[in-house]
């Protein structure tokens, strides 16, 4: 079977999965959650007021119709209006996505690239001093709280040395760049420890395989062996590790966004939690589920590209 047909089939499987996910979301938000109408009105509201509120929110309609609303929103990205700000939710999300992605995508991409390169480098010196030091360094970096890096960066690098903006955000290219550099650097520093440890293990698993010895016996250089033979074999675990984290980038980096006052999706989600803004929370849940499903399809398709042993069926 060829890879396009495989991809299309894999995408068709998404439909039932998405319907199921929508059902779970509907069940959590519309069936088992406390009555939002009551939460929005104060304790002394009359029965009539509550009924009116429920009608206004569409909560008096049959469950099936409410479920269909969730499904519809998943396909049209029309999530209605926020209860607290009355804004169109899809607009809110679009506005939040720009700052979020301008931070998280470059940061994630660079962190992944740098970590893989460092891992290949230390794997080259496996068992030697450089490798041991790198592992100790990684554990050391992981043991320091992320707050320490953030505070040090903001206080020393941004405030004291004046190298970066301390916090805030400006829309539009290239104005946003000064605001995201420091959070990106901190993101990379936070990721390098766990990432290098993971990639190094994956690469070392491959480096002792027989085919590596064959490659050496052919007269290939160590660099070619690492970057061609080993890396391609290590791709399956690496792809899994990388791609499956991308959906979480869409939710935004809560901690970094709030410390650096970046008006991203992380902030929107937090505000929605604080004010029980159900439609916004529902929208974020639907979106992150869709992202998750999409990226698992991408992972599966990539598997078949990198590893001929993965059967297309």
């Amino acid at each position: 079977m060829n890879i396009y047909i495989y991809t299309i089939r894999r995408l068709l499987y998404v439909i039932p999965v998405l319907l199921g996910v929508c059902f779970i979301i509907f069940f959590l938000f519309n069936v088992v959650s406390p009555d939002p109408a009551r939460m929005m009105l104060d304790k002394h509201a009359t029965v009539k007021q509550i009924a009116e509120m429920r009608h206004e929110l569409g909560l008096d309609r049959p469950f099936f119709m409410q479920y269909l609303d969730v499904v519809k929103s998943a396909f049209t990205f029309n999530f209605g209006r926020s209860w607290s700000t009355r804004q169109e939710i899809s607009e809110m999300i679009m506005d939040g996505a720009i700052p979020s992605l301008s931070l998280s995508f470059p940061a994630f991409f660079l962190a992944t690239l740098i970590s893989i390169c460092i891992s290949l480098f230390v794997s080259f010196f496996r068992g030697k001093v450089i490798d041991r030091l790198a592992v100790i360094f990684c554990v050391g970096m992981m043991s320091v709280s992320s707050l320490a890096y953030i505070l040090f960066g903001q206080w020393f690098l941004a405030y004291h040395m004046g190298l970066f903006e301390i916090s805030g955000y400006e829309f539009g290219f290239p104005f946003f760049i000064p605001y995201v550099i420091l959070p990106i650097i901190i993101w990379i520093i936070l990721s390098i420890g766990p990432d290098v440890r993971f990639y190094r293990t994956v690469i070392l698993d491959e480096i002792y395989q027989d085919y590596v010895r064959t490659a050496r016996a052919k007269g290939l250089s160590e660099i070619v062996i690492l970057f061609k033979h080993v890396l391609k074999n290590a791709m399956i675990p690496i792809i899994t590790y990388v791609v499956i984290r991308i959906p979480f980038l869409i939710l935004g980096a809560l901690l970094l966004e709030s410390f650096f006052s970046i008006p991203g999706l992380g902030g929107i989600t937090l505000d929605a939690v604080k004010s029980s803004d159900f439609p916004v929370l529902k929208a974020m849940t639907v979106l992150s589920s869709i992202a998750y499903i999409t990226f698992s399809v991408i992972t599966d398709v990539l598997y078949t590209v990198v590893d001929p042993r993965v059967r297309l069926k």
């Binding site: 050496r216 016996a217 007269g219 391609k232």
Partner: protein
Amino acid sequence: MGEKILEVTDLKVEFNTDQGRINAVKGVSFDVYKGKTLGIVGESGSGKSVSALSIMRLIPDPPGRIVGGKALFKGQDLLQIPMNKMRNIRGNKIAMIFQEPMTSLNPVFTCGSQIEEVLAIHQMQLTKQQRKNKAVELLDLVGIPAPEKRIKEYPHQLSGGMRQRVMIAMSLACEPDILIADEPTTALDVTIQAQILELMHSLQKELGMGLIMITHDLGVVAEVCDDVSVMYCGKIVEAADVRTLFTRPKHPYTKGLINSIPSYDATDEGEKERLQTIRGMVPSLFDLPTGCSFQDRCDFASDKCRGFDGNPILKKIADGHEVSCWHPLSN
């Protein structure tokens, strides 16, 4: 004798493991001649693979280390030359086939591309198309049917025997002076074993390479080798040409190995001759007995063999026949 193309002298290799240091190879010497096959025989763990890998400088370091010896090839010591020179020799002048056909090819590249890769690094004058044609020719040479189709296949689509043929094709790509075959047939079924041996034997005659055939099977030795070195616990205990070794073995270990080859002809009325085995087991390299390593399994061991200076050295007892034993058999 023909032209000597590889001269290994007093090779010593050790491994530093968690349980202590192992002297896996303790002063091994052998010569390889153009167009001839040298067999290296011995039980599992006797240091055959380690010796072979050392010549290619493929010992994993750490834990392994070549601590002494020489391997003279075309006037240069393979154990001393810088790595970039070594890489020029690997796969080009000296090629190697491994014990594990199932895992020795890279699973994510096609067989064709893995063969072409050798040509790409050692024969840079070839164009991409020429490399491809050569890969097809090589697969044809090693007896793989429909080679144009096979070059596009991945290793998992081939059987063990086919994979070993691909390995052979790869090793022959640059027409090496020496081919080291480390138990090339051990992992294959008997019928395939015979085919692969036959193939290697005829290719060797055709290309005039020196072949080092590592095996634990004296049957294989009898079929394809010209000279034999018998290894035991990291040392060569006997070396001779095939005829001499089989007709006049001097070391009790060699004799034991020969006796443990199954044979059906010397029996009466279809009754199978009982196989003779060498009693006991190979001692652990961590606690070898003082003196000769073979003493506990030997019927002739004396106090001398068990003494502090009891470790026998390889001595010439006839032209082209060496043995390391205090009490060589008389036959």
